[in-house]
């Protein structure tokens, strides 16, 4: 085996360890240096054992961003997870949660039932027990109608400027408002939105060690996106995890030139809108919001800077502060019974930093981050797209609704 993911470049400086939110919160987690390059080196002589502790990695990739020497710690840990797959205690739960698009289809189709199971005290405790979820975990409620189904009902604009939207499960099944805001904002810029067939981006499976299954979803998406990419369309993601996966993980894991080509066409929604920042600015009406922006880890890991921050700062009258840190939710991680403690512990630190800023409202790009932040604080949390769209609409309504699990 030849060294992979920069194992050889590691200087053992533990910078990655210092950046790892889980290592700080969970005493049993050995951290990215040990599980990544150290362990990886032992795996090369086939004497390394699998380590059940890899389970604790949230795949936030902060370690990889922090490492100044190009070691791909998070990728190394994902590979270890895959090796330890069959020692997983909650194999079936993790597998099931790896298919949010299927859950989402069921959830939106039967939303009253689903929301009862997720929202009412009895339903929640039943679900939690069945699924080994934290008893107080608040699963996101399902929308009555998915974004895709809403979008099918919309006409297309006559514009010849078109982009492809990779919706992502959260915006599709739980918060269609995010996608709707994107469509509206792009419309202001005279850009039409195409929504091709798509399934979950594969991150939930991948970060739970089900690599082979994730690859299937990834290939499906590549097949459906590629024709548009060939025509020169950009692909927009409003979910940072989907965006990062399409940009980075697809090319690496699938190893095909098609995947790389798709990856090269992907934009985070704010990254894309920021290009038209000036044009957009003209449409934004003044608001009196006092905002704190939390950049999700997977947005940070795209290396795009903080485009949401620059966009939000363009809304006249708005005060925006920035907090650095991980919220600890990491997709379904924070929902899991055994992990929710650690997840909260991580989140609390961020919440403290946020409340120090005394905002009226928190903005963040990631659906599950917003779940965690609203669970742990009393603050309303919104996607920057939704806020921008509100500002563009001149919505006098003021604050965005607090995101609530369906009751």
């Amino acid at each position: 085996m030849l060294p992979v993911n920069g194992i050889e470049h590691c200087l053992k400086c533990s910078i990655c360890h210092a950046a790892c939110p889980v290592a700080r919160a969970n005493p049993n987690y050995p951290g990215p240096k040990i599980l990544g390059p150290d362990r990886g080196r032992f795996m090369m002589n086939k004497s390394g054992k699998t380590v059940p502790e890899v389970e604790w990695c949230t795949n936030c990739q902060r370690c990889e961003v922090a490492c100044p020497h190009g070691v791909e710690t998070a990728s190394l840990i994902r590979a270890l997870k895959q090796e330890a797959l069959h020692e997983k205690k909650h194999y079936w739960r993790d597998l099931l949660m790896g298919y949010p698009h299927i859950l989402g289809q069921l959830g939106t189709a039967f939303s009253p039932i689903a929301n009862f199971m997720l929202g009412s005290p009895i339903g929640r405790s039943m679900t939690a027990q069945m699924m080994a979820l934290a008893p107080d975990s608040s699963l996101p409620a399902y929308a009555g109608r998915s974004f895709q189904s809403w979008h099918r009902g919309q006409g297309h604009t006559a514009s010849s400027n078109k982009v492809v939207y990779f919706v992502g499960c959260f915006a599709n099944y739980n918060r269609p408002e995010i996608g709707q805001a994107l469509v509206a904002l792009l419309k202001l810029l005279d850009i039409d939105v195409i929504v091709p067939k798509q399934v979950c981006c594969g991150v939930p499976l991948l970060s739970n060690g089900f690599r082979d299954r994730a690859l299937k979803l990834m290939s499906y998406n590549v097949q459906n996106l590629l024709p548009y990419v060939k025509q020169g369309y950009s692909i927009i993601c409003s979910c940072p995890s989907c965006g990062l996966a399409l940009k980075k993980e697809y090319g690496r894991e699938l190893g095909t030139s098609e995947a790389a080509r798709v990856g090269a066409a992907v934009y985070d929604s704010s990254e894309y809108l920021d290009i038209y920042g000036q044009a957009l600015e003209e449409h934004l009406s003044a608001q009196s919001w006092r905002l704190t922006y939390h950049q999700p880890c997977h947005s940070l890991a795209q290396g795009i800077g903080t485009p949401s921050l620059s966009l939000l700062r363009k809304i006249p009258g708005v005060q925006v502060s920035f907090v650095d840190g991980c919220c600890g939710q990491s997709g379904t991680y924070g929902l899991k019974e055994e992990k929710s403690g650690v997840s909260r512990q991580i989140g609390r630190q961020l919440i403290e930093a946020i409340t120090d800023q005394k905002p009226d409202l928190v903005a963040t790009d990631c659906g599950t981050c917003s779940l965690q932040l609203s669970r742990l604080s009393d603050l309303p949390v919104e996607h920057p797209l939704v806020l921008l769209e509100k500002a563009a609409r001149g919505a006098a309504a003021g604050l965005g609704d607090r995101y609530r699990p369906a009751v």
Binding site: D38, F42, M44
Partner: protein
């Protein structure tokens, strides 16, 4: 202080340690004296191949057979120090074709099990192999960890009542009436002198045998060849890989635990202490990697290692180095030079250390009138209780690269007669990983200090010596990741020490 003992063994290499074990098994009271720490000499500076004999098939079929036999024996008795990696002999298109035929013929002749695999299959097994490789054979090579091997022999011997002393150099042989009566040995730090009265002395001083012999006024016809190796930071091959050609420089890539070693060079030197790796040696090793392992030159190199081969060339001065006798010699100086009770065992291989020990102890036993036969071929050696955990999650690791735990350090410190950086390093692998001690030298020294095994001054000495020793291996490979590591190390230790120092 004067001590009485039957036999003094000089040199704590594999040969000396094996000799001590053999003596102990035969019930002969013995002490081993080592000038630095066991494994300091050639035994700690080699590839660590447990040769199947494949390498010597054409040139020296007898040696090949000897290696093969010992290989089989050691797998039984020293299994804990051996990893059955298996070996490949890979031929590249441009190398001599006819050599393959002669090699295979001789393998059949001595009964060495070789099997041809297709070049494609071989590249699947070992992706590091060049596509220029056209024929590949498997052989029963294995990897032996020389440090584990030496310390296992010492451990076994100590359990049977033998003793060993480290950092003690033999300075004088006491000779009266044509017989060795004892030795004087000096602590290399305190200069304290120990006198041993004994009935026989075994000179197993590796490349230094000539110096020991000269203490008895005896001259041995020795030349020295140094061989250097590159230690790569990760394990890039699973099996020992030999270039199938007439033995030459840069033939072997040898995996060992977490690293792999490529080498060697072979350069005539005049002084057995000359273990500096020259810059052009490193250059030429890199070039030698290319034809058979094209990706290897780009892989991180941790350090260089240089070992010295003593070549005993009675009456054959001037022969080309590699062709000089690679077998071993047992010399009874009573018969040869009129110094009774004095024996030299030299040359040979790591692989044949047990046989060498057996042969010299046979001679000594005869002289001492001991009739117990050698038992080392049947008596298994217990593994070291170090590094076997290989699970840093159970115990706190001091060295995370090589997963050396607190318990490992403690075990070594208790086993060794002196707690010094060299012995601790070789016995536990502390600081042998990619960071080359950047973090663990400090951690390890501190741990030993806190356990009361080092004083505050000794603790600092431990650190300084370790850093300087690591630097000696690093300075030849200052490029890429390793020089960044060195800069980090300089920064960290400057910060830890401060400048005023001590």
């Amino acid at each position: 202080m004067i001590e009485e003992v039957d036999v003094v063994v000089i040199g704590g290499g594999a040969t000396g340690a094996g000799t001590l074990w053999d003596l102990a098994l035969r019930g002969i009271d013995a002490v081993l004296i080592e000038q630095h720490e066991p494994g300091y000499g050639t035994s700690g500076r080699n590839h660590g191949c447990l040769h199947s004999g494949g390498r010597y098939l054409v040139k020296d079929p007898e040696l090949a057979l000897e290696c093969y036999r010992e290989n089989q024996i050691l797998r039984q008795v020293a299994g804990a120090a051996i990893e059955d990696t298996g070996g490949l002999f890979a031929h590249i298109k441009s190398d001599e074709q006819d050599y393959v035929r002669r090699w295979v013929d001789n393998a059949h002749r001595i009964g060495l099990p070789v099997e041809e695999v297709s070049a494609t299959e071989a590249r699947n097994m070992e992706p590091i192999l060049s596509s220029e490789v056209d024929r590949v054979f498997t052989v029963p090579d294995a990897a032996v960890d020389p440090f584990d091997l030496i310390y296992m022999n010492l451990q076994g011997a100590v359990q049977k009542g033998a003793r060993f002393m480290t950092e003690t150099r033999v300075k004088e042989l006491l000779i009266r009436d044509g017989r060795v009566q004892g030795v004087l040995a000096e602590d290399i730090r305190t200069k304290e002198v120990h006198e041993f009265r004994c009935r026989a002395v075994i000179n197993a001083a590796g490349p230094w045998v000539g110096i020991i012999a000269s203490l008895a006024g005896i001259s041995l016809e020795l030349t020295y060849g140094k061989g250097s190796l590159l230690v790569h930071a990760t394990r890039l091959a699973q099996r020992q890989i030999n270039r199938l050609r007439s033995p030459s420089d840069g033939d072997v890539l040898m995996p060992g635990k977490t690293v792999c070693l490529f080498g060697t060079t072979d350069i005539h030197i005049d002084n057995p202490d000359d273990t500096v790796t020259w810059a052009d040696e490193v250059k030429s090793l890199i070039e030698m990697e290319r034809p058979i392992f094209p990706d290897l030159p780009e892989m991180r190199v941790l350090r260089t290692v240089t070992g010295v081969r003593p070549l005993y060339t009675p009456g054959a001065a001037g022969t080309a180095e590699r062709d000089a006798n690679r077998g071993h010699a047992v010399i009874n100086h009573g018969a040869r030079d009129g110094v009774g009770g004095f024996f030299t065992i030299m040359g040979g291989k790591l692989t044949t250390y047990r046989l060498m020990a057996e042969q010299v102890v046979d001679e000594v036993a005869r002289e001492l009138g001991v009739t117990v036969a050698c038992k080392t071929a049947e008596t298994p050696l217990a593994g070291l209780s170090i590094g076997n955990a290989r699970n840093f999650l159970e115990t706190k690791a001091i060295c995370e690269c090589e997963q050396v735990t607190e318990d490992d350090l403690l075990t070594a410190a208790i086993f060794l007669d002196k707690v010094r950086s060299g012995g601790i390093r070789r016995m536990t692998r502390l600081g042998l990983g990619p960071c080359q001690g950047t973090l663990c030298i400090w951690r390890g020294a501190l741990y030993l200090y806190r356990k009361g095994l080092l004083t505050d001054q000794e603790c600092l000495t431990f650190i300084e010596e370790s850093l300087d020793e690591r630097w000696k291996g690093n300075r030849g490979v200052l490029w890429g990741d390793q020089i960044r590591q060195a800069e980090l190390e300089r920064g960290i230790y400057r910060g830890i020490y401060g400048s005023e120092g001590d």
